[in-house]
């Protein structure tokens, strides 16, 4: 029981960290959008625009169709909750104990969020919803094994599947072939998981270019605010993971996160969204790179 109580204390610290990340997440997305705008020769909106958007949606009423069930209102909350829980599992700034935050639990709790979102996409009985859901599970079918492989190469390096354990061991600069391959591959996976170009276009609402947006097309008001905030938090979480565990540069974490956010913006501008069935090739390439990295170790 003593362990449990000190676990709870550690949990409170993690929760605090997660709330800080939650507050910072819209800023990072704003930075990405600003980078894209500047590269496209526009001024673009300010980097704090996401905060204003969330505040705007928060105040608006929510509209639901009469065909939905209680799941419709539950799903964004669950998505938000699971993303926040995943953020709690990140290695602690405060040097918390390595007792919480196993990487498989991390991946699968994000899968819990994805499950609820995909199920809720079928709730409104529209064609867009089903399309979003089916594409989302298709992309997930390829993304998850590749994330597992990335995890695997990391685990082989550090010897445990605990996230804090992994970050504690990652202090040396890892410029080996395996390290570089893993870094690039995880970046590709990051883009896929967070619905960025080249896998999905987070800015438009056109049928051709939606996967994540498609699932959430029916949402409005506070639920939509929760979904967007959760997506931004997920991006930040993945960028943090990338910076802490894969990027082989010797900078403080905050700088690495900003650098990777800029990199995301640059990659999004330079590429276009690929056809849906090329995504498997893309992710298979990432997977092969990781497999090579695993074998090379």
């Amino acid at each position: 029981m003593m362990y449990f109580i000190s676990d709870v204390q550690g949990l409170a610290l993690c929760l605090l960290q997660a709330v800080i990340l939650l507050a910072a997440a819209p800023l990072i997305t704003g930075i990405v959008k600003k980078v894209k705008a500047l590269l496209q020769n526009r001024i673009g909106s300010s980097i704090f625009q996401e905060y204003y958007d969330i505040k705007k949606w928060w105040g608006k009423p929510t509209m639901v169709t009469p065909y939905t069930s209680a799941l419709f209102r539950l799903a964004p909350c669950v998505y938000f909750v699971t993303t926040l829980a995943a953020a709690c599992m990140l290695p602690n700034f405060f040097g918390g104990r390595a007792g919480f935050g196993d990487v498989f639990v991390f991946v699968y709790i994000l899968a819990l969020g994805r499950f609820f979102m995909a199920v809720s996409s079928m709730d409104a009985a529209t064609a867009f919803g089903g399309m979003g859901g089916s594409r989302e599970v298709y992309v997930a079918a390829f993304v998850e094994p590749v994330i597992m492989l990335a995890v695997l190469s990391n685990v082989l390096h550090t010897g445990s599947t605990s996230l804090s354990g992994m970050s504690l061991r990652f202090d040396e600069v890892n410029l080996t072939v395996a390290g570089v391959l893993t870094c690039i591959a995880f970046f590709l996976v990051l883009l896929a998981e967070n619905s960025r170009i080249p896998v999905d276009n987070p800015d438009t609402h056109l049928e051709l270019t939606m996967i994540h947006e498609c699932m959430t097309l029916e949402y409005s008001g506070r639920l939509l605010a929760l979904i967007h905030w959760a997506s931004q938090l997920k991006l930040l979480v993945f960028l943090l993971l990338f910076s802490m565990l894969y990027l082989p540069l010797d900078l403080p974490v905050v700088l690495k996160v900003l650098l990777s956010a800029v990199a995301v913006g640059v990659v999004e501008t330079l590429n276009n969204k690929m056809r849906l069935f090329k995504v498997r090739v893309y992710l298979a390439a990432a997977g092969l790179m990781l497999l090579l990295a695993v074998v090379a170790q």
Binding site: Y3, V8, L11, L15, P61, T62, M63, V64, T65, P66, Y67, S69, L71, R73, V81, T82, A85, A98, G99, F100, D102, F104, V105, Y108, A111, F115, A118, V119, S120, M122, A124, A125, T126, A127, G129, G130, G133, S134, V137, A141, F142, V143, E144, P145, V146, M148, L149, L152, V155, L156, G159, S160, T161, G165, G221, R222, L223, L226, L291, V295
Partner: protein, 657 residues
């Protein structure tokens, strides 16, 4: 052993209800299912006390014996719990079989449960094979219960033939092992003196026999046909328990009779398991019949169990040390969890069938409004089968993944790492595809709008069915949040010292270097705290109801996604594996400028059946037809065969004296 005899007596009473007259069939139904309930309950209780440290005196007469050791105890617990749940369900469900051989259903149900328990208790080869065959026959009778339909009896016949082939292989394995030991009891066969070549043969026979019964690719073809044909509670028990009994048999062979393992055996088991898992879930996502989806999902989960077992075997063979057993713990925990999950899902499939009268998910949609409790329980079951945290499906998955990580990071050869990494990737695919499969199953059936008028007349299930489903959902959630009793029971079963560190309420594993911890209770606490916060914020949002914007038109129910459409991206992604056959034909044209009527037919043939079974079948039939020429029907010809043989023998004897 007295407890088990008492349970057997309960089942015996249930079997005797076969003899009730037709007018008393309702009483027969209540008595039979009640007896099954009590018998399973006694079994589960006794197995639980066994795992907690009690021991059981074996019962022997002559060279036959009933023995219950710890490996049996886990499976007895599993059988007992699943038996309790499904018998409770059957109390409500089987009422719809009134007038259609209800007494046979009740009696055979008890016989099936009894034979499974006796297989687990058997202490020598003959008892094992006897009760195995009784189990096969009882399950055949149950699968063939609605034998008026052609699909039912063809499926049952296929099942019977295949299970006989499996039993033949197992029999060969037992006989070979037994002939190399003093007698046929398991204790004696444990010190057998088989030499290496015969050990390979025994492994091959035992693995193919038990893999056939467990439903691993490529011997799984009976599963997707037999499970939809059977009544739902029977499918639940078959999927939930009978497949695990095959795993029990395989484990007994590996642990007791073949104690020294060859490296390639382990790799074969692991790879076959991983491939079954992947192919199983891939085909699951392509099916439209609820029960076929669940049957393929059983193939998938048995694949995961065997892959984990193979991983454990490899760990033991290669690495030694004291942490090799993780694979076995993972396999057993996943087996236990899967039986509860699968039983829940089959019961919900039965509820849907009971309420709507169909199994085709393309005809459903919006059932959540008509059957809210069933929807809730099915949702819990879908979450569990998709290995979502906080349900017990994830505990097994976590342990399996940890065992693979341990294998890869153990100092083993590069080729082993490659095998293990490939299996790991396949398991990753499996997890993700399972998520998609169950999103599809739940979403298409229960959410959205009705796709046909079957939904209008749907009704909720009765209280027994709901109680059973509720009980298993509760178990799913409880075992997901507090997995320690199950894991500790499994460790006790494998007779391991508790190297699973018990820190509070978490599962901790130190095998692959440093500590990995999984603490579901903490997770639950976290989720609860955050949910409370979210609830506070979204409680009083202003909600307005209006019809979906559909570009100006009124949305119809045909505009929502169909089940086939939902799985299309995955189907197209794995085109080269599935090889779907499409047929589009142009039927007529109503208008000069637009409005053609097309007919579209999509069929996904089972590749294993087409590429493996049918050529073999054709070959056999061809050879048999050729050999049939020997049988012309003329007695004189046959006598001449005898004469020719006799002359030959005599001449041979004379010449080579």
């Amino acid at each position: 052993m007295e407890c088990f005899l008492l349970a057997a007596a309960c089942f015996g009473v249930g079997i005797l209800t076969l003899l009730f007259p037709h007018s008393l069939q309702r009483y027969a139904h209540w008595l039979a299912n009640g007896a099954a309930l009590i018998g399973s309950g006694i079994t589960a209780y006794k197995a639980w006390t066994l795992l907690a440290g009690a021991s059981v005196v074996p019962l022997a007469w002559g060279s036959y014996s009933w023995v219950c050791d710890s490996w049996s105890a886990v499976f007895l617990l599993l059988t007992g719990i699943a038996g309790v749940i499904t018998s409770l369900y059957a109390l409500g469900y089987a009422q719809s079989y009134e007038g259609s051989r209800m007494r046979l259903l009740g009696g055979m149900w008890n016989l099936f449960l009894l034979s499974m328990i006796l297989v687990l208790l058997a202490g020598d080869a003959f008892s094992f094979l006897l009760f195995w065959e009784i189990m096969a026959v009882a399950s055949f009778m149950l699968v063939n219960h609605e034998s008026e339909k052609r699909s039912t009896w063809t499926a049952a016949y296929q099942y019977l033939v295949m299970t006989s082939v499996g039993t033949a292989a197992i029999m060969i394995a037992f006989l070979l092992t037994g002939s190399a030991s003093s007698n046929f009891s398991f204790a004696a066969m444990a010190d057998n003196k088989l030499d290496i070549l015969w050990q390979h043969v025994v492994f091959a026979c035992a693995f193919s026999g038990f893999a056939l019964k467990a439903g691993l690719v490529p011997l799984h073809v009976w599963l997707p046909n037999a499970h939809p044909a059977a009544p739902s509670h029977v499918s639940a028990l078959m999927s939930g328990v009978m497949l695990k009994i095959a795993f029990y048999g395989f484990g007994r062979f590996m642990f007791s009779f073949l104690p020294v393992w060859n490296y390639w055996w382990c790799v074969i088991v692991m790879v076959v398991g991983a491939v079954s898992a992947f192919l199983g879930v891939l085909y699951a996502q392509m099916e439209n019949d609820i029960k076929r989806i669940l049957a393929y999902s059983s193939v998938e989960n048995m694949g995961v169990i065997f892959a984990a077992f193979g991983c454990g075997m490899l760990l033991k063979v290669l690495a030694g040390g004291s942490w090799y057993y993780l694979g076995f713990v993972a396999a057993l925990v996943h087996a236990f969890n899967h039986s509860i999950m699968k039983v829940l899902m089959f019961m919900s499939a039965g509820s849907i069938m009971h309420g709507t009268g169909s199994k085709n998910i393309e005809l459903f949609g919006g059932l959540a409004k008509k059957m809210p409790y069933t929807a809730l329980f099915t949702f819990v079951g879908s979450m569990a089968l998709a290995a979502i945290p906080l349900t017990n499906g994830f505990t097994g998955e976590w342990l399996v993944l940890q065992s693979f990580i341990t294998l890869i990071s153990a100092n083993s050869a590069q080729i082993t790492r490659l095998w293990a990494a490939l299996c790991f990737v396949l398991l990753g695919f499996t997890g993700a595809l399972a998520l998609g499969c169950f999103v599809r199953l739940f979403g298409i059936s229960f959410l959205g709008r009705a796709r046909s008028e079957l939904v209008e007349h749907a009704h909720e299930s009765d209280k027994f069915m709901l109680a059973a489903m509720g009980l298993s959902s509760a178990l799913v959630l409880i075992c997901g949040i507090y997995p320690l009793p199950v894991v500790q029971a499994v460790c006790a079963a494998l007779k391991l010292d508790n190297e699973f560190a018990v820190q509070g309420f978490s599962l901790a594993w130190a095998g692959s270097g440093s500590l990995s911890v999984f603490n579901p209770l903490l997770l639950l606490l976290l989720v609860a705290v955050i949910s409370a916060a979210v609830y506070l914020f979204t409680n009083n949002i202003f909600v307005e109801q209006n019809v979906t914007w559909n570009c100006g038109t009124y949305p119809t129910e045909r505009q929502q996604y169909s089940a086939t459409g939902f799985s299309k991206p995955v189907r197209r992604a794995f085109d080269y594996l599935l090889k779907p056959k499409r047929q589009v034909s142009y039927m007529r044209k109503d208008h000069a400028y637009f409005g053609r009527q097309l007919s579209y037919k999509l069929e996904i043939p089972d590749m294993i059946t087409e590429k493996l079974y049918q050529p073999v079948q054709k070959h056999f039939v061809g050879i048999s037809t050729f050999l049939r020429r020997m049988q012309q029907g003329s007695v004189r010809l046959y006598v001449s065969y005898v004469m020719a043989t006799m002359v030959l023998v005599l001449v041979w004897g004379a010449l080579y004296k």
